[in-house]
Symmetry: C2
Subunit: 206 residues, 2 copies
């Protein structure tokens, strides 16, 4: 139904409102992935999320003018016009998006949904947004990722020991193995942090 980009956008909007143009930079700077997602992906995604009622477009309340922030939708048009005619701050009619209550709900569901949790890009995105998950969902996510990596490590080690590989191909395989080991160490570190947090919480509750 909704894909990775939708989750990423909702995740950004959980924090604060954004307009489309801004989302591109934020995706790189705050969520790590993707060297510049194109606008051809972002704007349609926003439109779709709006159609499903997970986000809504609000007026660009610009810092200088301010006080325009009366949320009525009928005022939106007028405000955009006034922003345009008024020289100075307001750029071209920005459409600032805000996540709805329904969107917040759906976001947490999507984020913890174990379906399509295959590749590392996907996982990194979810981890970067993990503060919106409950501790137990976080641990579940981490454990699932851990078992995937263990399987992957075994596979890549078998490949690395393939006798018929030349030194370059073997080097690639060995490096792939080291990459998976690094990922695994990271996950284990995150897991132990989660567990010690849970323990200290349990102690407090006593």
């Amino acid at each position: 139904m909704f894909d990775v980009l939708d989750i990423a956008i909702l995740g950004l909007l959980m924090d604060r409102d954004h307009h489309g143009y801004e989302i591109r930079t934020q995706l790189r700077e705050r969520l790590g992935l993707w060297a510049n997602v194109s606008f051809g992906s972002i704007y349609p995604a926003l439109a779709r999320l709006a159609r499903y009622g997970l986000v809504e477009a609000v007026v660009a309340s610009d810092a200088r003018i301010g006080s325009l922030s009366t949320g009525s939708l009928s005022g939106e048009r007028a405000s955009l016009r006034s922003l345009r005619s008024a020289p100075g701050i307001g750029r071209r009619g920005r459409k600032v998006y805000r996540i709805t209550a329904k969107g917040r709900e759906e976001f947490v569901t999507l984020l913890s949904d174990p379906a399509t949790l295959d590749d590392s890009k996907n996982f990194s995105l979810r981890m970067a947004l993990a503060k919106y998950l409950t501790p137990s969902l976080r641990v579940g996510l981490l454990e699932r990722r851990r078992s995937d990596l263990v399987a992957r490590l075994a596979e890549v080690r078998v490949s690395a020991h393939n006798e018929q590989l030349d030194s370059y191909a073997r080097s690639v395989m060995e490096h792939a193995a080291r990459g998976v080991e690094l990922d695994l160490a990271w996950i284990d570190n995150l897991l132990s942090t989660e567990r010690s947090n849970q323990q200290s919480f349990a102690r407090e509750a006593k």
Copy 2:
């Protein structure tokens, strides 16, 4: 013109003939990438390469051993024989593909072509096939990759120091940085190997 999968397939065929079904496993086992490329990609790619005359189908008729064409490559002949001799007869009419002289030329050109050498998947593929490159082309490839990684490392370190990141998002960024560092160490290691090989060659030539 030709894409990554084409290079990968040609690379496999440089070694020995393959049929389509077999290529899928080999892509994983020998070239590392892609958890199973689908046949919907492989067969059309083979057909296209054949249209351009880079490969040709040498139909392995279900018939028994022998009847083998100009076996310039002894290893290839041996592998085909072993495929047929073990069980009763060959399976369904396999189409075994062989790389042509033109294909070998084009392969080296594509492999050393610096265009579209962006992502790590692409680079890993090229490195896995690096034995088909000249030493200087290999060094060029490695140096280009190195400078990309240096730039990437700087970028991701800036992201990791972003004050507004929560601990999870920061952890993702820091882990990304460690990943790039690992890649970089690998490249540097490969580069020094290349250089010491060149030196020992130079000594011999003296």
